[in-house]
């Protein structure tokens, strides 16, 4: 799995190109999130547009990223979430935990207050 990284308006945007499932991909993404936070990133947006599915391993990666960056005074937002992943987040009531946006631009506009 590849994860594109791009910095815009002081935010690191991470775009995984595959589903986040236990058994490799979810764990890989979990490690990457922890690494970028440990390296000092405090404002993260995860673009889930290419993540067709996420199981509990994928959810764990996102929640752990959220908790870790929150402890550092930062924020992890989710953008561009496909229907299957939205259903999982809703089932787990996690759509009340993460800041969620229709698009990365929407997330950046919200931060910029426009």
């Amino acid at each position: 799995m590849d994860v594109r990284q791009e910095t815009r308006v002081g935010h690191l945007i991470l775009t995984p190109d595959d589903s986040l499932m236990c058994g490799g991909r979810a764990e890989q993404f979990e490690r990457l999130l922890q690494e970028v936070i440990a390296a000092g990133q405090r404002h993260l947006i995860v673009d889930l547009g290419a993540v067709a599915h996420a199981d509990s391993g994928g959810v764990r990666a996102l929640v752990r990223g959220h908790l870790t960056v929150q402890q550092q005074g930062g924020r992890l937002a989710l953008a561009n979430i496909p229907g299957n992943v939205q259903r999982v987040l809703h089932l787990l009531k996690l759509d009340t935990v993460f800041p969620i946006y229709d698009s990365v631009d929407g997330a950046l506009s919200d931060v910029a207050g426009t």
Binding site: M21, C22, R60, L92, T96
Partner: protein, 283 residues
């Protein structure tokens, strides 16, 4: 059959009677591998007799010797290559024969040839010793014994979801998620990721319901001890269990059982909690 030589490019045999598809696959795979091809079963058997292959892409509907016969021949050899089956026959009977023949994956035609190199690379990188043992292969009663390795979860979910190909997508998706979650739990917590230990899986398809049973080799657990799981949370406090996890020194997580409970109609554990059954009603 001889064994492939270590350190040389991986070798692939493409067995396909559709000339156009055979040429397309051979060209695509030749960029990274040493590739031979065969247009029928007899030619394939001759190639396998004389050469050593790491992987065979095998069409099932071949003239002469069928693909399933070749699969069975390969299983009786001493250095069996991994096999990816390609077929337009996606009936449960054929799928189960392929699983019993230890096919690594099962691809339903038509498919874009460009997707094949990634599937081949994934198969070649996988642990060839992780075999799925078929105990019962009736379409309405499938029973399997699988090693406790997460690597096998993807493959198995793919196989099992194809058994339900006739069901609405939403049902297949819920069942697939639930099965995978419980399988991963059984492999990780029950089997401790020890591939020498086995998880036993049963799938029953009745007229009005689907039943899955997953039995792991562990000691089980007590529901009262699951303060670190999301199932213990109040409805409006989805992360409360994280405090218990932190206290126990375990990383964030604990969503699996809660997810499954929301996706199936019934979720039942045995007394020791090392066997679980879930039911999905179909009407």
């Amino acid at each position: 059959m001889t064994k492939p030589v270590e350190g040389t490019p991986k070798s692939i045999l493409v067995v396909e009677d559709d000339r156009g598809l055979r040429i397309a696959l051979t060209r695509l795979l030749s960029q990274d591998f040493r590739v031979d091809d065969a247009g029928d079963g007899t030619e394939a058997l001759a190639r396998l007799q004389n050469g050593a292959y790491d992987l065979v892409l095998l069409d099932l509907g071949l003239p002469g010797t069928s693909g399933l016969d070749i699969l069975s021949h390969l299983r009786n050899g001493s250095a069996a290559p991994k096999v990816i089956v390609m077929t337009s026959d996606d009936t449960p009977q054929t799928l189960l024969r392929a699983v019993r023949g230890r096919a690594w994956d099962y691809i339903v035609k038509p498919f874009p040839p460009a997707t094949i190199p990634d599937i081949v690379k994934k198969a070649l990188a996988s642990d060839g010793s992780l075999a799925i043992e078929v105990l019962s292969a009736r379409p309405e009663w499938v029973e399997l014994l699988v090693p406790c390795s997460l690597e096998i979860a993807d493959r198995l979910q793919g196989f099992m979801m194809r058994l339900d190909a006739d069901l609405p997508e939403a049902v297949r998706e819920s069942v697939g998620y639930a099965f995978r979650e419980l399988l991963c739990n059984a492999i990780e917590w029950g089997g401790k990721l020890d591939a020498t230990r086995k998880v036993r899986i049963a799938y029953l398809r009745a007229k009005r319901m689907l039943v899955y049973r997953i039995a792991d080799p562990g000691q089980g657990f007590k529901m009262d001890d699951l303060a670190h799981s999301a199932i213990s949370n109040a409805p409006d406090r989805p992360l409360d269990h994280m405090a218990a996890r932190e206290e126990m020194g375990i990383r964030a997580g604990g969503f699996g059982i809660f997810m499954v409970r929301g996706m199936v109609d019934e979720l039942l554990y045995n007394e020791a909690h090392n066997e679980v059954v879930f039911v999905k009603y179909l009407d």
